[in-house]
């Protein structure tokens, strides 16, 4: 006779001995691998378009390096706070977790605000994506990256709000969820660490 527990899926919380991972962690790394291919394809396109162009503007001549650098600092900081919110949970400090995750979300929103401001100044001067391939790739890559930030904000807000109820019923699983959300968030930061120099500094 089997019980409901037998049809439960193993390794949702405890790592499997030979892979060293619990299921969701392998899942998120696989997802991140596919994201590397996605942004890799866009980087490939950037290189092809740039090397094939007779002229290509230096990023600093079109974009605001101080604003970009500020955004970079915001994202790196949010990566740290995301990480610390996870360690807070491992130290069983729920209040600290909420504070740090909340800061992470706020930093991300400010990032988006700066980005929106940057876009609007471009549009005011009629710098649309259709104007040049430089602007096309700039808007597309930062736009796709911004969509990923929005996705991260949604997930993190859920984890901060309704999702955090799981802390009471299954704290270990909830801690894992924050780890997973963190891995995604660090990846989004990583992409920006390449995007910023490529588009703003080169």
């Amino acid at each position: 006779m089997s019980s409901p527990a037998d049809s439960a899926i193993p390794y949702t919380v405890q790592p499997r001995y030979d892979t060293g991972l619990y299921n969701a962690k392998l899942g998120i790394w696989l997802f991140l691998a596919s994201e590397v291919m996605l942004f890799g394809a866009l980087f490939s396109s950037y290189i092809l378009l740039r090397t094939g162009a007779p002229e290509w503007p230096r990023g600093a001549s079109i974009l605001s390096v101080p604003l970009g650098a500020f955004n970079t600092a915001l994202l790196i900081s949010s990566s740290l706070t995301m990480l610390l919110s996870w360690t807070a949970l491992r130290m069983k400090d729920f209040k600290k977790f909420k504070l740090l995750l909340g800061i992470t979300i706020l930093l991300a929103i400010v990032f988006l605000g700066v980005k929106a401001y940057e876009y609007s100044t471009k549009f005011e001067h009629h710098y649309f994506p259709s104007k040049s391939t430089y602007l096309a790739i700039y808007f597309t890559m930062t736009g796709l990256h911004a969509l990923h930030i929005i996705g991260g904000i949604i997930v993190n807000t859920y984890m901060w709000g309704p999702g955090s109820k799981m802390w009471k019923t299954d704290p270990e699983r909830f801690t894992n969820r924050i780890e997973i959300a963190g891995l995604y968030w660090h990846f989004v930061d990583l992409v920006w660490l390449f995007l910023f120099p490529m588009l703003y500094l080169l």
Binding site: D6, L30, S34, S45, G52, T133, I137
Partner: protein, 583 residues
């Protein structure tokens, strides 16, 4: 479609309402069947698109009796097909067969249904994600179908959607792009699930080198889907930007359309699209064949009652194949002006990649030697796969040689080559899989006589349709011509072959009727399976009861030996299942 009652008595779970149990199910078996039924529908739909095209090719400019008027004045005025409509049929036939038919059936249906059972797992690793990936596929399919009804009709720039043509095409192309985004999302979520499931949920004793070859095939396929699709997603986003926001990712400078220079910035590259598209589309064709190889291996081994020859080599080959498939793509681009050095690179990798395929195919043949062969319906389809895939694969070699490809590129030779692989190749393997696993899913067998009536005419007609196309291609007839080459003098001699292929297609249509009838009739009236393991097989799915309940197995399994221990000396039976301790 009706489902058997699940034996839920010994579970304490509350009974789920109908819509949660069968519509928005999280059970991998229900989801697998959802994928299967939906994919079979799309295969049929794509088949009908082909029949329409084949009418035009055999009788160019002739009105199609009765049915022709259904398509309206925009597509077939007076029942006579317009070239614009022909192009829609061509582009959508390819798209639907590949992305909505074969892959969802091979990966979504068979992968989801069989893999957890073959590794002893209660379900896939992420049941909710599984459900999401099915519905994303369904939504993508709806978008693709809807595109036929928008002004200008469906996408008509080939399944390959090359710019600049696809960039300036009618609205249907935008729908195609959105549909692809949904399908790629579905595929991504599915592949994450498959890989995690195979790595994490194998029962004790089931090491990687005791896995059925089918599971290895699904694992490599999932990696191909995971890592090859994103560049196409990126390209799709860029083409959407080009179409909707007038960017020039793929639009070179100086384009003139209908006498007017385009008001765009220019500076883009058409070859950029081709590189990104084929980066996906080449691994995609291995996605089309690998699950089929997995299915055929299971069925051949089972019906020869002896171990699989070269099990380890086949695994190494399939891993090597998977990796190589990522670095051959530009053999689709030999005629784009690539220089000799880079062409030689891609030619070399293309030649090399044929080796693992040949190794795998050879071991399937060798396994037959000395076997005690049972010629049931699944085995017939699996056996037919071998020479058919052989023809398809071997005819790829001249295409992979850049010098020969100058003559053969974009001719009917290419069409014949890939259809031999997918149609009497993969689709036959999928038929074999349906006949083989039907008793596990329903507790009943499909009718053997109807199966044979399905098999023989299908095999013959497939060859009647596609063999002449090699001849046409060698004669220089281009693909995607709406009159089948009738307006070219040099092709005059091979034009009658168009009619031959069309008659073959009509025969193939009739041959599917016994299958469709058999499939649905046998669910209710098929011969009851004698046991949980009616084929006397060795792999884990046969330990589960027929119509497995939620959670699959009555008690946790343990694996004691490899997957193909047939006719072990000293054993009482001619098969020693992996899950039986003393056998």
């Amino acid at each position: 479609m009706s489902e058997h009652d699940h034996h839920e008595g010994h579970h304490v779970h509350p009974e789920l309402p109908f819509w949660q149990k069968y519509i928005f199910s999280q059970d991998h078996k229900i989801i697998g069947i959802q994928y299967g039924i939906t994919a079979l529908f799309f295969l049929l739909f794509g088949f009908f698109l082909m029949l329409l095209m084949r009418w035009q090719l055999a009788f160019p400019g002739e009105p199609l009796p009765i049915i022709g008027k259904w398509f309206g004045e925009n597509n077939m005025p007076g029942g006579i097909m317009l070239p614009e409509f022909y192009n829609q049929l061509g582009a959508m036939h390819g798209t639907i067969m590949v992305f909505l038919g074969v892959v969802p059936l091979a990966v979504g249906a068979f992968g989801n249904y069989v893999v957890p059972l073959q590794i002893g797992a209660p379900d896939m690793a992420f049941p909710k994600l599984n459900m999401a990936s099915y519905w994303a596929y369904f939504a993508g399919g709806c978008v693709m179908l809807a595109s036929f009804f928008v002004p200008g009709g469906a996408a008509s720039s080939g399944w390959t959607s090359y710019p600049p043509l696809a960039n300036i095409a009618t609205q249907g192309q935008t729908w195609w792009l959105f549909g692809m985004v949904l399908l790629i999302t579905s595929s991504l979520l599915g592949s994450i699930n498959t890989i995690t499931t195979i790595f994490q949920l194998r029962v004790p004793g089931l090491t990687f080198f005791r896995l059925p070859f089918f599971v290895w095939a699904q694992l490599v396929t999932a990696f191909l889907l995971l890592l090859a699709f994103p560049p196409l997603e990126a390209a799709g986003v860029m083409q959407l930007m080009d179409r909707l926001f007038n960017t020039s990712f793929f639009m070179p400078s100086g384009l003139v359309v209908s006498g007017q220079p385009l008001e765009i910035s220019g500076g883009g590259s058409v070859l950029l699209w081709q590189h990104l598209f084929w980066f996906l589309a080449h691994p995609e064709v291995y996605v089309l064949i690998l699950p089929a190889m997995g299915i055929v291996t299971e069925i051949i081994t089972n019906n020869t009652r002896k171990p699989l020859n070269g099990y380890k080599m086949m695994i190494y080959s399939i891993i090597f194949l998977g990796f190589m498939s990522f670095i051959v793509w530009a053999h689709h681009m030999f005629l784009t002006g690539m220089g000799t050095a880079i062409s030689a690179f891609f030619q070399a990798t293309t030649m090399i990649i044929s080796i693992p395929s040949i190794v795998i195919l050879s071991y399937m043949f060798i396994t037959l030697w000395g076997g005690s062969i049972r010629f049931n319906t699944p085995m017939l389809f699996a056996l037919a796969f071998l020479p058919m895939f052989g023809i398809g694969g071997l005819t790829g070699l001249p295409l992979g040689i850049s010098a020969a490809d100058i003559h053969l590129h974009d001719t009917y030779y290419v069409i014949a080559h890939f259809h031999y692989i997918v149609a009497p190749g993969t689709i036959f393997a999928l038929f074999a899989g349906i006949y083989y696993w039907f008793p596990k899913a329903t507790g009943r067998h499909m009718n053997e006589l109807l199966g044979k009536i399905h098999f023989w005419p299908s095999l013959i007609c497939m060859n009647i349709i596609f063999m002449p196309m090699f001849i046409q291609g060698l004669a220089g007839v281009s693909r995607r011509l709406y009159d089948g080459g009738a307006s070219y003098d040099f092709a005059h001699n091979v034009m009658p072959l168009n009619q031959l292929s069309t008659y073959g297609a009509w025969g193939l249509t009739v041959a599917q009727i016994p299958f469709i009838f058999n499939f649905f009739w046998s669910i209710f009236k098929g011969k009851k399976a004698a046991s949980n393991n009616p084929w006397q097989a060795t792999t884990l799915e046969w330990a589960a009861p027929n119509c497995p309940p939620h959670g699959n197995f009555e008690k946790p399994l343990k694996v004691y030996r490899g997957p193909y221990e047939y006719s072990v000396p000293g054993s009482k039976k001619d098969y020693s299942p992996q899950f039986e301790e003393n056998s």
